[in-house]
C-alpha cells in the first residue's frame, strides 16, 4: 500500500511538473506577440545565410565514451546490492569487490592505453 502511494506521488509530481511547464507555454501564447516571418525563423548563424545541414554525423569518440560509460554504470548497479549488505558479509565482501574493481581498472587502463580517453 505504502509503495503504491509513493509511486502515485511520484507520478503525480511528474504530471504536475509537466502541467506547470505547459501552463507557462500557455501564458506565453496569451501574452507574447507573435509576428513570424521567414527571415526571423531562419536558423541563426551569426547573421549569415545558414549553410547546409546541422544534423550531420558526428565523431565516433562520443560512442567510445558512451560504451565505457555503460560498463561503469552497470558496474555501479552490481555494486549497489553488495554495498547495502556489506556489514553483514564483512571481509568476504571486501575481497570480492576488490577483485571486481581490479578487473574494471584493467579495462580502464586498456582504454587509457589505447588512447580512447584522450580527447582531441
Amino acid at each position: 500500500m505504502d509503495t503504491y502511494a509513493n509511486l502515485a506521488a511520484l507520478v503525480l509530481a511528474g504530471l504536475v511538473g509537466l502541467a506547470f511547464v505547459f501552463a507557462l507555454y500557455g501564458a506565453v501564447k496569451l501574452l507574447a506577440p507573435s509576428r513570424p516571418y521567414a527571415l526571423k525563423n531562419a536558423t541563426y548563424e551569426c547573421g549569415h545565410d545558414p549553410l547546409g545541414e546541422a544534423w550531420v554525423p558526428y565523431r565516433l569518440q562520443y560512442y567510445a565514451f558512451a560504451i565505457i560509460f555503460l560498463i561503469f554504470d552497470i558496474e555501479t548497479a552490481f555494486f549497489y546490492p553488495i554495498v547495502l549488505v556489506w556489514r553483514q558479509i564483512g571481509t568476504l565482501a571486501l575481497v570480492e569487490t576488490l577483485i571486481f574493481v581490479a578487473v574494471l581498472l584493467v579495462g580502464l587502463l586498456y582504454a587509457w592505453k589505447r588512447g580512447v580517453l584522450k580527447w582531441d
Partner: protein, 190 residues
C-alpha cells in the same frame, strides 16, 4: 496569438496586464552587442564596477540575439556588414529596440566620406535611441538606456498589431548598394 497586441480596444484588465508587462520589460532589457567598433569597450566599462548596468537589470549581455531585447550598434556599419546586421536584428524576437551608440553609428562619423560605409545605423535599422559621443562616455550610454527604459515603460502595447507592425522586415535586394544610396538621399539633411 498575442492578447495585448491584437486587442481591439483597451479595457481595465488589458491595461493592467499591459502596465505589468511594460514594467517587467523596462526593468530587464538584455543586450545583444553587435560590437562593430571601439564604443564596445565603453559599453564593457558600463558593465564594470564603476557604472554597473546590472543595477537596473540590464546586466546580461546574451550571446544569441534570440534572448536579447536591445541591439546595440557601437560603431560604424560597413556596407558589407549591413545585411548581416539586418539579419541579426530580424532574428531577435519582438519586442526589440535598437540603440545607435557614438557618432559612427549615428551618421558615419569620421568614416562618413568612405566608399565602404553606410552613413549611420538608421540607413539600415530602425534606431530608437541615438547616443552621441566619440567615444560615448559610459554615463552617456547609461542615460540613453534610461531614456529607452522610460519609453518602453511609457508606450502602451495595446492594439499595436492593428496600428502597425513593430518592424517591417526589409527585403534584402540583390542590388544592396543602390538601396543604401537611395536611403542616403533621404538622410543627407541631418
Amino acid at each position: 496569438m498575442g492578447l495585448i497586441e491584437n486587442a481591439e480596444r483597451p479595457n481595465f484588465i488589458l491595461t493592467t496586464i499591459d502596465t505589468l508587462l511594460r514594467w517587467g520589460r523596462s526593468h530587464s532589457l538584455w543586450w545583444c552587442n553587435a560590437g562593430s567598433a571601439c564604443c564596445s569597450l565603453e559599453f564593457a566599462a558600463m558593465g564594470g564596477a564603476r557604472y554597473d548596468m546590472d543595477r537596473i537589470g540590464s546586466g546580461l549581455v546574451r550571446a544569441s540575439p534570440r534572448q536579447s531585447d536591445v541591439l546595440l550598434i557601437p560603431g560604424p556599419i560597413t556596407k558589407k556588414m549591413a545585411p548581416i546586421f539586418v539579419r541579426v536584428y530580424n532574428q531577435m524576437p519582438d519586442p526589440k529596440w535598437v540603440i545607435a551608440m557614438g557618432s559612427c553609428a549615428i551618421s558615419g562619423g569620421a568614416f562618413r566620406e568612405s566608399y565602404s560605409m553606410t552613413r549611420g545605423a538608421d540607413t539600415v535599422l530602425p534606431v530608437d535611441v541615438y547616443v552621441p559621443g566619440c567615444p560615448v562616455r559610459p554615463e552617456a550610454l547609461f542615460y540613453g538606456l534610461l531614456k529607452l527604459r522610460a519609453r518602453v515603460r511609457g508606450t502602451s502595447n495595446i492594439g499595436l498589431a492593428h496600428r502597425e507592425p513593430i518592424y517591417v522586415p526589409p527585403d534584402l535586394p540583390p542590388e544592396w548598394e543602390a538601396e543604401v544610396r537611395e536611403f542616403l538621399g533621404e538622410h543627407e539633411a541631418c
